[in-house]
């Protein structure tokens, strides 16, 4: 039975400890989004070099989420947001988690083994958005607070958003290093022989 959590950002370690894989989360506060692989690479390089990032990730949330920011008059407005596949950021997420104090990573489909290890070591969790559900997910965005690294194409820039009840997001990796996706894959692999037997029976 999964639990539903309403959380406010910034997150303290105690806020994320109770989260278990399969639980649902709604978030209110500020999040930082980018869908750029080069952006994640640059964040990791800043961490390695001890340079200050344009936005503070400590106790915050970093999302592999694309965002279309439009300038309307003197205001910046988000037209839509949508998650991207998180596993492809595996080369950089462990460094980012280890060096920034980020408490929550958001994207879709889970993260790789080294990222899971880093989450367990440094106290961070992974939550998955519902991919393709941009229309409803985008309605949680209240404001575009800041955009940095304008040398990147728009969806690769670092964008700080104010959100209200963003979700439902599913806890994919908890602070203890449990991973919903690894578990499901192992279970499916374990069922393959019996599913093949069933297919052979049906075919006969």
């Amino acid at each position: 039975m999964s639990n539903i959590h309403e959380l406010s950002l910034p997150l303290q370690p105690d806020d994320i400890t109770p989260l278990q894989i399969g639980d649902l989360v709604y978030l209110t506060g500020e999040i930082i989004v980018t869908v750029g692989l080069p952006t994640h690479k640059r964040i990791a390089e800043f961490v390695d070099a001890g340079k200050e990032l344009p936005m503070d990730l400590s106790n915050g949330m970093l999302c592999q989420v694309g965002c279309y920011v439009e300038t309307q008059g003197n205001k910046q407005v988000s037209r839509y947001i949508n998650p991207s596949t998180s596993t492809r950021f595996e080369p950089y997420l462990p460094t980012i988690i280890g060096g920034t104090g980020v408490r929550m990573i958001g994207g879709k489909g889970g993260v790789g083994p080294k990222t899971i290890e880093a989450m367990k070591a440094y106290g961070c969790v992974y939550v998955s958005f519902i991919g393709g559900a941009s229309a409803l997910t985008s309605e949680a965005v209240r404001d575009v607070l800041e955009v940095a690294w304008h040398d990147f194409i728009p969806q690769f820039r670092l964008t700080r958003l104010k959100v209200e009840r963003l979700g439902p997001l599913t806890v994919g990796v908890d602070v203890r290093g449990n991973c919903l996706y690894t578990n499901l894959k192992n279970e499916a692999k374990g069922k393959l022989d019996s599913l093949m037997e069933e297919l052979n029976r049906d075919r006969a």
Partner: protein
């Protein structure tokens, strides 16, 4: 006469519609899956998908804001008569759409050699061409593709495989993709022919309307048993656990030589697909 301007407009419209509305058959299948799904969390996910798709349609917004790249399957009637350039019409239609679509598109066209992003690129849009004997129209299907489900497609060449070998390969491909391709997915399979033809058959198989019976009885049975088996893997909606991993599996085959390519590909739950015909008379018929 079917002219350049019509093809340009219709191909661009088909791409836009595919980004904002899911096909009717897919909508109905998602609604059925919501009724049949036993996982509590899985039902919440399915409901959110259905409600979000409804909102996108009502408010003229994107379903998934990753528009992917435009991919078309075009069938040219042997009796169709054209004026102007056909291939250029698709490229120009895409360029014009980028300028007018609201909400605007992000840059998704990527050069694989340099990783540069743009709104254009070599061979873009991707179009596959076929001929329909006797028809006096051009039949255009748009089914854009993005990394999310696109990266999990695969092809392997077998030599004299049994049906069991083929089914095991499909099951292993499903398990390899796991939770990653935004399930519940539409699965396409192409068996036989040649390397390129098998991949094309797999893609085209995903475009077959749901609920239609496979004309080859061996494959009709294979589709039924694989559908049941895949939905017992447990990945569920959005790969978070549940009974609904696949919306459907469609399989096509071709005669070939002793080597048998088997290609498997996936469409995410949105199953983007729109289709229209332009007739010699100038009439445009929207099919999906």
């Amino acid at each position: 006469m079917i002219d350049y301007e019509q093809i340009k407009r219709v191909s661009a419209d088909l791409y836009e519609w595919s980004l904002k509305k899911i096909p009717e058959d897919t909508k109905a299948r998602l609604a059925d899956a919501y009724e049949e799904e036993t996982g509590e969390g899985a039902r919440k996910v399915l409901n959110f998908m259905i409600q979000s798709a409804k909102r996108a349609e009502e408010k003229d917004r994107f379903l998934c804001s990753d528009a992917g790249v435009p991919v078309y399957s075009v069938k040219i009637g042997s009796q169709a008569v054209f004026s102007g350039d056909i291939k250029r019409a698709f490229a120009d239609g895409f360029e014009e759409l980028v300028g007018r679509i609201d909400p605007p598109l992000l840059q998704f066209v990527q050069n694989p050699l340099t990783n540069e992003r743009s709104y254009k690129g070599k061979d873009m849009p991707i179009v596959s061409w076929d001929v329909l004997d006797g028809a006096d129209y051009i039949d255009i299907t748009c089914s854009p593709k993005a990394l999310g489900s696109g990266r999990w497609a695969t092809l392997e060449i077998f030599v004299y495989p049994s049906l069991e070998d083929i089914e095991k390969y499909i099951m292993e491909t499903v398990i390899r993709a796991g939770s990653q391709h935004c399930p519940p997915v539409m699965i396409g399979v192409g068996i036989g022919g040649s390397f390129d033809h098998a991949a094309k058959m797999a893609k085209q198989a995903t475009l077959r309307p749901m609920g239609t019976e496979n004309p080859e009885p061996i494959l009709a049975d294979m589709e039924k048993r694989l559908f049941k088996a895949i939905n017992k893997t447990g990945f569920g909606p959005m790969g978070q656990g549940g009974d609904t991993t696949a919306l459907g599996i469609h399989i096509d085959f071709s005669a070939g030589h002793g080597f048998t390519p088997v290609a498997v590909c996936f469409n995410c739950w949105i199953n983007r697909r729109t289709r229209a015909r332009i007739y010699n008379s100038g009439n445009v018929e929207r099919i999906e």
